[in-house]
Symmetry: C2
Subunit: 300 residues, 2 copies
């Protein structure tokens, strides 16, 4: 039998990774409606937004307001992404208790994303982690383009492992391996997860952030399951990615992932049928079809 | 490391499963153009068509003519599907050397597809296999809806295993497990392949025919690889399935499967980049975008 667990946790990133490139700006009320909808469908981890410069990501400008308005449920984890110390301070001020921060394994992507070298990025994230941990927050530290970079192509797994090891020594709660470009494949995911887990303390979670650009998102999720991953990121309808590429795909679709896991006997707590309806609401607002599958099939 | 092989064989079924539901009828010349294109891209098994009644599947009416015209290459296997003895005789007359025949594991689907009970279908395929084997043909015997039926839902794996065992005693060369509805999942695929292989002689190939309706096609392929499958069906661009469902998906896309396998270090002999161009030619003739991913991404 395939060695897979009986339960996993999905973090929905629709409101952050999903929306961040969308031109249509979502109000706090609209975002809250989706957040409430996800809670009602059983989503127990939600990435609410990011504390980044509104000039670069206008869609995230209302993240502080959104945190102020969200009326947290005790059994739901609300996370936010930050990319620098200023973001950490804004997140603390907004009352965020679970922070995601991230650097890229690719030299070029770090420069493109934050205008820093990989060495500079590693140096900068260290005090961010320390500050957040000192404030008692849980910290998830991510490694973007861990399975391939659009600028550099293949990424040396040793670079990823070294960043993960640094995160481990800093006492992060979770290391997130992000296939930002969807260039990963099941064999590479399985191998990389194994190498990353080997350098981390046993209590440190390893999570996977997968994009479905090449149709391998769910295959990579299953490889991650087999390698011991119990936390996965996803978004409604597979939101995310560039809207101007035919068949563009962002994250794996939350409802598709929850369906696939349920079929394999892996509990997520998510009602994927109702979540499919929420994905259709998102499509209606965006005015286009999202790549996720289950939302478009008859649900009975 | 994931237990996967170093090489597999993909059978392209664009000209049969891919086209059979398309309203636009393809001429022998058009089909030959795609057949040549696939050969040039390194496809080494091609399902050319089916010998079925032209009234039910008009697209397949020129299969005899196509076999007469195809100028076989010595390193390519050309197959055809038959569903009754009349089809076997037509295939023999057309000079086909590799026959696929198939019954469904679902009582309802058998009745819908061929107006027979499962027991009748099992009784009917037996002399078809014997006739083809007596003529020295290689026989692939398939089990449709092996992982779920649109009418009946879940299919008892024991029914699939029993059909496979019957095929084994009849000396077929290959047993094809078909997830005709795309309802399979990696765990179910892995388990079912294991059970089927256990009742077959060691020399009998087990192949997988996967549909990507729920986005699990490639994940199921990887599960099949892990379970020992070395032969997979696919079609250009993921052709097949109902053209009237948004995001409808047919087979797994040949170029996507070949890409994924290449990335995992599994050789197919197929140049997926060039095959992506052929998928775009198919799209141009059909006038719509196919669900496959790699054909739509920049190829360098």
């Amino acid at each position: 039998m395939l060695d897979i667990p009986s339960a996993v946790v999905i973090e929905d990133e629709s409101l952050r990774d999903g929306l961040q490139s969308e031109k249509r700006l979502f109000s706090v009320e609209e975002k809250l409606r989706f957040l409430r909808g996800m809670e009602e469908c059983g989503v127990r981890r939600i990435q609410v937004g990011s504390f980044v410069h509104p000039k670069w990501v206008p869609q995230m400008a209302n993240t502080d307001e959104l945190f102020a308005a969200l009326e947290p449920k005790p059994d739901v984890v609300y996370t936010a992404l930050v990319l620098n110390m200023k973001g950490v301070e804004r997140a603390l001020a907004a009352g965020t208790r679970h922070l995601s921060m991230s650097i890229s394994a690719s030299e070029s992507h770090n420069r493109k994303n934050t205008n820093r070298s990989l060495a500079e990025a590693k140096a900068e994230i260290r005090p961010m982690i320390e500050r957040a941990k000192a404030e008692g927050l849980t910290v998830r530290a991510g490694i973007m383009t861990a399975l391939g970079c659009a600028y550099e192509g293949a990424i040396d797994p040793a670079v990823v492992v070294e960043i993960a090891a640094m995160y481990g020594t800093l006492g992060v709660d979770e290391v997130n391996i992000a296939d930002s470009t969807g260039m990963g494949n099941p064999r590479a995911v399985f191998d990389l997860v194994g190498r990353v887990r080997a350098v981390l303390p046993s209590g440190t979670l390893v999570s996977l952030h997968l994009h479905d650009t090449r149709g391998l998102g769910l295959a990579n999720m299953v490889a991650g399951l087999q390698a011991g991953v119990r936390n996965f990121d996803a978004s409604l309808g597979g939101l995310g990615g560039c809207p101007f590429i035919p068949n563009a795909a962002g994250n794996i679709a939350t409802e598709d992932a929850a369906y696939a896991l349920a079929e394999m006997g892996v509990a997520t707590g998510i009602d994927w049928r109702r979540l499919g309806d929420l994905a259709l609401e998102m499509e209606a607002l965006l005015g286009r079809t999202l790549p996720g599958r289950m939302a478009h099939l008859p649900r009975n």
